[in-house]
Amino acid sequence: MADRHPSAFSRRRTTLRAIAAGVGFLLVRPSVATPDDLAIALREAFGDRPITPGKLKLEVPRLAENGSVVPVAITVESPMTAQDHVKSIHLFAENNPLPRVLSVELGPYNGRARVATRIRIAASQQIRGVAVMSDGSLWSAAVDVEVTVGGCAP
């Protein structure tokens, strides 16, 4: 990663190159979200409401060769009736430049709580889905994805 940010002096001396690599790393870092940014994004979206693991199934390839087009399918266990349905589904990628990926709104008129799309994954990381149910409860699932070629930065 640091090789893409050569500075004039880094070419001259290998000792300085090592320092430049470190500086380059620090310069690059802020563009990558961290699990802390994910926590902030989750709090922005859901406040302090508890999120329980379960009810959600995330279908993502364990190994994605091309991070710029990764198929994702999210299925939520729900009868999708007027009394008991999924209101929304949210997708997060903790190491993408922006952890928020996508939000969809659903309702009993969908009949089935399943959504599929294609997303970008910047680097190997955990993809997290959160579902908001009609009773206000929050459910989540997470899947680790290995990416060979990242899909966001150049």
């Binding site: 990926v101 939000s103 969809v104 089935r112 709580a113 899909g151 966001c152």
Partner: protein
């Protein structure tokens, strides 16, 4: 200016009560705003921000997109078929460009 072209696939006929599969795709660069051009300058963000589907005027699907949605956003979702009616698909990008597509869902008993 890139043209937004929609491609939508719905079943030819549906049975009342079935949850039918809807597939919708729009051509769009989904420029994330995080890429640099060959001079090292950032390329401005240009993304589809929202995609909605209405069934006989009622919203049945809404997606809010962020830059991490791939080029040519593609969605698969489901719809409980209750009666024959128009489906209206609308995509809006951050330049204010809007693409619309209509499909007629035929529901048999």
């Amino acid at each position: 200016m890139s043209e937004m072209v929609a491609r939508v696939r719905i079943p030819q006929t549906a049975r009342r009560g079935d949850a039918v599969e809807i597939r919708a795709m729009i051509t769009h660069p989904m420029e994330s705003g995080f890429r640099l051009d060959n001079m090292g300058r950032p390329i401005a963000r240009h993304i589809v921000e929202s995609f909605t589907c209405t069934y006989d005027g009622q919203q049945v699907f809404r997606a809010t997109l962020h830059p991490a949605v791939s080029t040519n956003p593609y969605f698969v979702f489901y719809l409980a078929a209750t009666h024959s009616a128009d489906l209206l698909f609308t995509w809006t990008d951050d330049h204010g460009d809007v693409a619309r597509h209509t499909a007629y869902l035929t529901v048999a008993d």
